[in-house]
């Protein structure tokens, strides 16, 4: 495997000082800069600072479904950050975390003291067949061109392999959707505001066998923003007891799915989490609440295993036992996850930090996880593991 230098010896400590999240869903009421504004306004008000205090903006957007091909400067200008950036980043579904990673490193290295990471995605202005085609073109020439792959197909290939090797069942996949819909119904910002029964999921329309429509995240619009600051700056603001960004691990893998070692795990997630655990000097057992990348239900089961919350092949058992609900061993995606909160690609990584920051500050209301150690983890995957970021927060 790969070993990133994680000593942090020369790096400054970085805190999350403000977070914002727009309503996720089919947002045909607003353009992409208007949605970005919602998240940024909330983040600035949460922090109690203005754009003037922010030295650098990092704008993450995949943007491939937009009428604009270079959307970042427009987002930046509309929301009042002209001259502060943007640095534009793109890492498919992990774009939000790539934006946080970039902002984090700018502060940790001493380049700036305050930076904002913004994730914005507008996906619903094109029809579903077009959106599926754009999304499926992650590996056009050797896959899409000939076989009409989509992201549902890619994850279905992992589901079939996982089921064949470990006996994971369609019922266990359905239980992930039941849990995440349950929490989305209690999250006013979620795309879906309703619970779904196991039988409904199992009988729902097959998209890519064995995945059914309820195994798939929706196509959503949305934005989220995270404001980061150096330790010195934290002292100047009202944030007396901030959430610290303890570690951020990165992992990657082949572009072609045919060049993977197997289809039951994401190597990039294992590399990213090992790096993050090492950097934060913690073990998986120390995590008290986590957001994982459940773009499809099988992805959440693989995440349990890749992050070390259970042994390889036992992800299905973890959901069977209810261990990832609030009250269980490790509550996961208690904001609804990508599956039911929605997955506006670039917004997702920032939205995970949004939810975990609220949790760590004990501001999550009905969905609050009782915390003792105040350690949380976000796992954000790009494509089918071509990228992965694992972030550890602590308060």
């Amino acid at each position: 495997m790969i070993n990133y230098r994680v000593s942090g010896e020369y790096m400054k400590r970085v805190a999350v000082i403000g977070v914002g999240n727009s309503k996720f869903g089919v947002r045909s009421d607003a353009t992409f800069p208007e949605i970005a504004f919602e998240a940024i306004k909330e983040a600035l008000e949460d922090t109690g600072i203005t754009q003037k205090d922010v030295e650098l903006s990092v704008v993450g957007t995949v943007g491939s479904r937009l009428y604009e091909m270079y959307p970042a400067p427009l987002i930046n200008e509309y929301t009042g950050f002209t001259l502060k950036g943007p640095i534009r980043v793109e890492a498919a579904c992990a774009t939000g975390s790539a934006a946080v990673f970039t902002a984090y490193n700018a502060i940790a290295s001493g380049y700036v003291d305050i930076a904002i990471a913004i994730g914005v995605e507008k996906m619903c202005e094109v029809d579903t067949a077009t959106s599926t085609a754009v999304g499926g073109r992650g590996c056009y020439l050797s896959e899409f061109h000939m076989f009409g792959t989509s992201f549902a197909c890619y994850y279905a290939l992992f589901a079939t392999a996982h089921m064949a090797k470990y006996g994971t069942t369609e019922e266990q996949l359905a239980k992930i959707a039941v849990k995440n819909h349950y929490y989305a119904a209690r999250n006013p910002k979620a795309h879906f505001q309703r619970e779904v029964a196991t039988e409904t999921i199992l009988k729902s329309r097959v998209i890519c066998w064995p995945l059914k429509i309820y195994d798939c995240c929706p196509i959503s619009d949305g934005a989220a923003a995270v404001i980061l600051a150096s330790e010195e700056k934290v002292k100047e603001f009202k944030a007396q007891d901030p959430v610290w960004l303890e570690a951020i691990g990165f992992g990657s893998d082949t572009g072609n799915l045919t060049r993977r070692e197997d289809y039951t795990s994401l190597r990039s997630a294992r590399i990213a989490s090992e790096t993050a655990y090492k950097m934060a000097k913690i073990r998986p057992e120390d995590i008290e609440v986590a957001m994982v990348h459940d773009c499809f239900t099988i992805a959440e089961i693989m995440a349990y295993e890749d992050l070390g919350f259970c042994r390889k092949g036992e992800g299905g058992r973890l959901i069977d036992e209810g261990q990832t609900w609030i009250g269980g061993k490790i509550p996961i995606n208690i904001d609804g996850g990508l599956k039911a909160k929605g997955h506006p690609l670039a917004a997702t990584g920032c939205s995970m930090i949004y939810e975990l920051t609220k949790q760590l500050r004990n501001e999550a209301g009905d969905r609050q996880v009782p915390l003792k150690r105040h350690i949380a983890l976000a796992h954000n995957v790009g494509m089918t593991g071509q990228y992965c970021y694992v972030t550890i927060l602590k308060r």
């Binding site: 045909s28 009421d29 000939m146 076989f147 009409g148 197909c153 290939l157 998209i207 045919t258």
Partner: protein, 150 residues
């Protein structure tokens, strides 16, 4: 499902994107598909086999490869696609997308045919072939080998 309220919107001007993708270096592959054959490349210096085929070896930094034909392999995973993306909606059949590990060790993506998805099993052996669709696009096709017990 709650109905999304309707908001006013205006149409953008249409953008058509069609590419002329260069195939001069991988012509053997694309021509082979038309004849029903699937090729990989093998670096003449280090022996590494590449699929999808590439003419440049990143280990040796050389561009001297030989073409080898992939004939058979075992089914590693599969899915049947009921949701078709733009560009595929005119195909009436719900194609089965599969990944096969060829005898040479590389893995190939293609459509699994002549079998019901419910009968397909991870580990079954298949022949690796190719065909041209009625619309002119190539497709790699896996067919179960006769020794597979039903």
């Amino acid at each position: 499902m709650s109905k999304t309220p309707e908001y006013p919107a205006m149409k953008s001007r249409t953008l058509t994107l069609t590419h002329d993708i260069p195939i001069s270096k991988t012509k053997t592959y694309w021509e082979g598909l038309k004849e029903g054959n699937v090729h990989a490349t093998k670096c003449k210096k280090c022996g590494e086999i590449y699929y999808p085929p590439q003419v440049d070896c990143p280990h040796c930094l050389t561009s001297d490869v030989e073409w080898i034909q992939l004939l058979e392999g075992t089914l590693e995973t599969f899915t049947q696609a009921y949701l078709k993306p733009q560009g595929f909606t005119h195909y009436e059949h719900d194609y089965i997308i599969a990944i096969v590990k060829a005898a040479e060790g590389v893995k190939v993506m293609g459509w699994l045919e002549d079998i019901d998805v419910k009968v397909a099993k991870v580990g079954m052996s298949v022949k690796i072939t190719a065909k041209t669709m009625p619309d002119g696009f190539p497709a790699i096709v896996f067919k179960p080998r006769s020794q597979n017990k039903p």
